[in-house]
Symmetry: C2
């Protein structure tokens, strides 16, 4: 153990309480980007984060207007000749519905059983905080960073990052760098350290089915008009077959097929299917025929309803034919599917299969591209070495089922290779009630980021440009 | 015009304002039987109605406990040797969702364009009130009634009349009579006076589909677990075919087929299909192949969703696989379908078609039998004469699509023939936002009831027992 490591460890040990208190403060801000009423909370979270970054030693910190929730920028650019890294995370969180299923208040965080519990603990405030703390600890113990870092912390990741691309376009020069590090993913099942090499994209739609302009008495009108709720169910049912395959013509056209070596890599991952099923709590796993569970999650697209509503939902009965029915749909996409093309295909198919007697409208709610990054890239290898050093194990290389659509934005707009360095877990309940994060992952994550900056400095600008 | 009619007209004219004010007072009580929080309002409506009945001249008035919302009983039994009539109506109303679609507050009634507007105006408070006013006016102008009348005003008609049957059983002797008159139906399209000879029954169910015990991240879990919302849609879609027929095996077994003469009677009704479509506001009428619109409504069973819900319904997106999905279903039944048998058949079919990876539960929410009464019955003929006398036109004989399940209860428990004497209209928006009732129908309805008592007295007890 070097003196420097000792010094970093001592610093982290000394400031543990204060660091945790700040993390909990961050979680107390209900920065739900998808609900318009929470816009002031998103702004408050941005301002709070900017203050933390300034205190940690970031320079040029700015809460940037975007037309939506702001983006927090800050940098530390004193490592002449060393690589430059753009770090991305997001300070916004998912809504809390169904609120009844939270065991505690979602925005009153606490620590229990080694976990920080609260909305945003893992996705993504914990991961944003560990970057800020890595900056603080490195500067406090060494006075300098071995690389140049530019922080981009977004406030609309949970609402399709609607304003990010325009902001990246406008700030392309300011963001010039050698790579982007995105910390919004996780480890492999069982908290096994991992680097994510693939992410799914997403295409979101809303379907509206209208019948009469008002609810009708189900006795007086039942049998003579179509029912928008039944019609919506027929449309949704037509979208997938009993084999789990999506029936939309052309849907799979651009999917990169799994080669033998890809299937071998999936098969090599340690995975207990029955334990996973039990942990998930479903009566049986279920998916597209011809693929394993990990292949379905990492390499195959999906079509899922996220919400459905129409008519009477209260206690008791209400004998109506409701005026309208609604569903939110998201497709998870894999390389090389294009979200706009998928949205068009799904819309056209829905219009095609819609039954008579109702009118149907499909709204596009945005999307993001899928991403696939080579294991051999020197920045990926450097991340693996940093994880091995701090977590003490060789990381796995995984493809995540989730989406960080901004990967493609950093690649295509800013022109950066992207490394996904995330510390969450599948059982963190991201997007669900009782979200939490393993506190040890946050703490070791701070060390990993510091180690990663060292590995990148050792690789050097030229090394990062050389295929591994 | 006899002196007696003049006297009745004069009395009704003199008390018009007070009568209307009381009707509006009744509508102000939000007696929604299906929502537990409104139980005190139901009781308040019952007490208010009992006071009105006493003031009108009813005797033995009693607010009877049922275990649920009370039944209001009252009678006037001084016409020795004359027929005895049980009059049925209900003081409870439907919920007001979707509240956004009401143009005015549902429980702040008013008169506009010759209509009384407010929840319950037509279904069924207006019709209850006209019976009370007929009693009052007849006694005030003649001192006696030509028949004996027993009033049964229920408070759970909109919640499947769960306690009515037990109360009828317990009060069978008190309710001994020659016929039951039920005022909870309406006229034919275009406010054409009619006597209803057929009513549909109902069977209500709730379907619950569960996946994981909590919402799952649609990225991390999408493709590897079944989605309860998609699964529910598949179940619902499987219930009906593209021909509009219900696919549940055995569903149509007990349906009385339409004979040539029945189809001729339907065809003889004045009905402009395109005008009906425009008034309903749907892009096209839609239903079971092989039947006309009026046949579908009057003589064929249905399966309709009344509500569906699950997952995220707010503005924006929430990328989850929801834990559960729910739907309320009602089937309208025709003679001789049995609600319990239909419920069992639908439940068994749903369990049969449920896809893997989710668990499904079907709850029975109660039901009521369909009913079909001969045109030739002397009590039906007497009703037709009373309508002709007061409204000035020969009534049509129709089969209604709606349900008054208590018809079968009066038939089977109390052993009474049932006459459906109703004054509402299809465009009254019963069960929907902006419910209203044509005030002239209420006012002429009062006269019709008085005339009906005269016709029944002229028919006599023996005449009512003779097939017409």
């Amino acid at each position: 153990m070097t003196a420097e490591t000792t010094s970093l460890d001592a610093y982290l040990e000394e400031h543990r309480e204060r660091r945790l208190a700040a993390y909990l403060d961050f979680l107390r801000i209900p920065s739900i980007s998808g609900i318009p009423d929470h816009a002031p909370d998103c702004r408050r979270a941005a301002e709070w984060l900017a203050d933390q970054m300034r205190a940690a030693g970031a320079e040029n910190v700015e809460v940037c207007e975007t037309g939506g929730h702001p983006i927090v920028y800050g940098d530390r650019l004193h490592a002449d000749g060393a690589p430059t890294v753009v770090v991305y995370g997001h300070y916004d969180v998912q809504p809390v519905d169904p609120i009844d299923e939270w065991e505690t208040a979602p925005f009153e965080p606490f620590v229990a059983d080694g976990r920080v519990v609260g909305r945003g603990a893992a996705d993504d405030k914990g991961q944003v905080m560990l970057h800020v703390r890595a900056l603080e600890a490195a500067l406090a113990t060494r006075g300098t960073l071995p690389v140049n870092v530019k922080y981009v912390f977004e406030g609309e990741e949970e609402s399709s990052s609607v304003h990010l691309d325009a902001w990246l376009e406008a700030n392309r020069e300011r963001l010039a760098a050698d790579l982007a590090v995105i910390s919004d993913t996780g480890f492999f099942d069982g908290n096994r350290p991992a680097v994510t090499i693939g992410l799914r994209g997403v295409a979101a739609l809303e379907v509206h089915v209208d019948g009469a302009p008002r609810d009708l008495h189900s006795g007086s009108f039942g049998g003579v008009v179509n029912n928008p709720l039944n019609a919506l169910c027929e449309i949704v049912a037509a979208l997938k077959g009993p084999d789990g395959r999506i029936r939309v013509p052309g849907f799979y056209d651009d999917v990169v097929p799994l080669a033998d070596e890809d299937r071998a890599a999936f098969a090599a991952l340690p995975f207990d299917e029955e334990a996973y099923r039990v942990a998930t709590g479903v009566p049986a796993l279920y998916g597209e025929v011809g693929y394993t569970t990990l292949e379905r999650r990492g390499a195959r697209p999906t079509l899922d309803l996220n919400g459905i509503w129409g008519g009477f939902q209260g206690a008791g009965g209400k004998t109506i034919i409701p005026a309208s029915a609604h569903a939110k749909i998201t497709c998870r996409l894999v390389a090389d599917q294009d979200p706009d093309r998928i949205t068009d295909l799904v819309r056209a198919y829905i219009e095609d299969v819609a039954p008579p007697g109702v009118s149907v409208r499909v709204d596009a709610l945005g999307g993001g591209r899928p991403s696939l990054t080579p294991i051999e890239h020197p920045a990926t290898r450097a991340a693996a070495r940093a994880i091995e050093k701090t977590f003490g194990v060789t990381p796995l290389y995984i493809r995540e089922g989730g989406s960080v659509p901004i990967c493609a934005s950093f690649e295509s707009i800013v022109g950066l290779p992207v490394v996904l360095l995330g510390f969450a877990n599948d059982d963190d309940h991201a997007h669900a009630p009782n979200e939490s994060m393993v506190l040890a992952n946050v703490e070791t994550g701070i060390r990993t980021v510091v180690a990663y900056w060292d590995e990148l400095a050792a690789t050097g600008v030229e090394g990062l440009r050389t295929a591994g």
